[in-house]
Symmetry: D2
Subunit: 283 residues, 4 copies
């Protein structure tokens, strides 16, 4: 088991501690073109959601005042873990403890008292966009396909940069295209990283790993009966955040592999175990 | 009636067109300290919401798999226009047309086909934090209090900078404190800007105006029977976005008036007329 | 156009006025066996719902008190017009007026000020169960199939009774079986009654017509471009209520055609245009 | 501890087993006037709900088809245990077992696999309306006030009938009026029955106990630290159903104490631990 950092017994932020005023300023200085990319799916009935969850419910309402003025509003009903979203460190576990020893049993239907998403102000990170779409198979062949350390190293090299502490990693697997083809195939498995790549990235000081699939990691995992092992390692041991169901096609096409600025601003849901987000990448 | 810019008959972005790669790069270069502030209220039952709306509903759920692993999720039910949120250009109107002549009648319970919030990738803007908390009355005396152009000019001067095209303006009125004291007083009126300040800011090329009250503008407005006149002018004529229910206390206390970087990433709700947001300010 | 009864310019109950203390007592005296049948589908993600609507969302929550006692609750998110439900007289229309001249334009996102379902205390009616499952085609051949007056007369004869003012009619078409086979075929059309049967039943003084399909009437209707013509005639002209997506298999198998007691107790949704229901038949 | 009936180790209906074809026919023969009373509150934002729950959310939507026809629908978001509702036998407990030994641990956010409300077709019962509004104090003096066996016997005598196996009991405490005066006082306590009356009623073979307060029983209960002891006794030991937040004023005023027909048709929520209902009383 890989070594992991610690920020004290009260810590609830995990690897986000690696993001400092210095790394923020460095991240802000990264962009060269001034272009702004949203890497989120649109939110609505068709936004990606796992089979056993509910499609997002969006209804727009209007109210007309005596003045004849009309105010429109939206009623939004959704899982925090649907469409493009971030996992809080309290999202997934096995056993009695979460990250840094916080008790899993304290989570109730009213929310997570520890490690909730509202403890995060926001992520302002340098990110490396790694393009693995050429190595990840499509269709059912993609299920369980594991991106290797060699793949990662090659992909990093193509960015013209290297991983530094405080960075985010964005993985383009190309799996997103599967959602339009066949939702069942998209949902029941996926190509992604395995435990060795995940631990490698965490050891490099990565704060967040995002991908254009629903769970970042290879599913089904190589090891059976252990659940989503990358989730467990990242969220429970390393305090690394996961960013899922990204839409990276436009960014990858227009900007390609490289080092950019990533800003993720989760909704500050009190006690939330995650949040829908609209991550922005500035190139 | 003040002159307004135009970006063609098909335009649906309004003043966001004033945000260019150049203004983005300038905005990114603004921060000096590398500190990141969230200026959003927490989201939950207690987040600010107008009287006739519903409190936000948040329920955390868990699902245990055969492996013993547990996945937690949140069920979120909310108005897009509750808590800290942004108004899309399709949020408010009187009569048949919205900004740039788009028909208000095309908005249905399924959403807005034009000027919807999902058309915006995100806002990466330089912002000026103006502190008007010393001039705005508290309690019921605050209802209808109008911030003047003189107040604005003095507040801008205290930032050590000046308004430039492509900027955002953040107004601290101090009204936010009223919510904890008495929700009715908070909701039934507020101090804010009037039509002259709003038009002045729009003419300067401001993209977005935010405030720590629920509606940016003085309510009740000076002119009766015309609804929210600043909303109408900004959203329908100038295409300027409004950012409401901000929580500016920490930023104002720690950083004070000044020019900073503001990033707002609305959820890309398809056909949405607004979005809850977690705006970030980097100082 | 068939003649229709009237109960005054203020009336909002329509044909329910035909249910009187006398018909209630007669209905209560109908059962012979004392058996109670629910003719509703179970409510949940799989309950029948039209394609463009959302599946019902049901989440059970628990809260543990200091005493160690646990209270469970359900969070229910649903369309009133999903699964087994009743149409209020304000559910469907064309043009400016609803039943008895009430204005359709008064319906807003806050509800229907007139003809809403909460105006009904409940339905306690004698019902005739008519079995048309032998004459209605299955699969796509069922789309638009119209049950004729002859079919109805034969089916009534098999009940051993005759239609009386104040009665309800329950139509078994067998279409319900299609939902399990192919939801698209179920939803895009159905066998049912046409305008002549509907008007005949209304003229007989029927209060309510129910069926084991989603819309009671033959869809697509014989006449094009007029929408659901039976809905319009029953709800807007005759004030006859429609009860949809019934589950009549058990009742039909165990009790067969006959005259029974029907009790329908819509939720008293203030301003609601319909309600999910669990209609009970006592044989 | 009072003796209790048993209907086998697989039983999930509890005291509803005491409702037989014979008691149903007897109940149906009870009404003399043919009048139908709804004893439910209207459902909407103002319907009674405990402090820590959410107000009911009701939005009416419309959809216009090409034909110009408009279909209205309602979006309903609510707790099953809000307003007038019935408790399933799986609603409340302490420890590992529910009624008849079913495991409480099997209840998840997806519902109750045992003792859920969808197992009930419906209740068709003779009911005795007992009027205790003259003995129950109003205001805060009502908190914890316990209706005694003597009160019950006197109230039964005033119905001109006596309790029989298979009956329902409806208790008018008058507490409902408190909701309009002061929700906090209404919610934080109430007059009601204690454990001795509850056990007495259960031993008489009562299937269901309803009241015009939020919990049927005296709150706070005489015994501290044991939670809602009448709930536990009725739901967990005797399998007696509880019907809460009734609106009995009209029935009590127009019909007074007596024996009537009660029909309760819970929505068949799959795995639901309760349901909103519109109970009907026929006098």
């Amino acid at each position: 088991m890989a070594a992991q950092r610690s920020w004290g017994s009260d810590d609830q932020l995990g690897a986000l501690n690696l993001s400092t005023p210095e790394t923020v300023l460095r991240a802000l200085a990264t962009p060269r073109t001034g272009r702004v990319f949203s890497i989120a799916h649109k939110i609505g009935r068709e936004s990606p959601v796992q089979d056993r969850k509910h499609p997002t419910w969006h209804t727009t309402t209007v109210r007309e005042a005596k003045s004849g003025c009309v105010a429109a509003d939206d009623l939004l009903i959704m899982h925090s873990h649907s469409g493009t979203h971030i996992d809080a460190l309290s999202h997934y576990w096995r056993g009695d403890t979460l990250y840094n020893g916080w008790p899993s049993g304290a989570i109730t239907n009213e929310g997570a008292p520890h490690l909730s998403i509202d403890r995060v102000s926001g992520f302002v990170l340098r990110c490396l966009l790694l393009d693995l779409s050429d190595v990840c198979p499509t269709g059912k062949a993609g299920h369980g396909f594991e991106i290797t350390l060699d793949h990662i190293e090659e992909a990093v090299a193509r960015t013209g940069s290297s991983i530094e502490a405080g960075d985010a990693i964005l993985l383009r697997t190309g799996w997103v295209a599967q959602y339009a083809v066949d939702k069942a195939t998209y949902n029941w498995g996926e190509p992604g990283i395995g435990i060795d790549v995940a631990e490698f990235l965490a050891e490099q000081g990565v704060v967040l790993i995002g991908a254009d699939n629903w769970g970042v990691e290879a599913v089904p995992p190589a090891t059976k009966g252990e659940g989503l092992i990358v989730h467990r390692a990242m969220l429970n041991r390393f305090g690394v955040y996961l960013l899922e169901n990204l839409e990276l096609e436009e960014l990858a096409t227009d900007a390609g592999p490289g080092a950019y600025l990533l800003v993720v601003a989760p909704l500050r849901i009190r006690g939330g175990v995650g949040s829908p987000v609209n991550p922005l990448v500035m190139t």
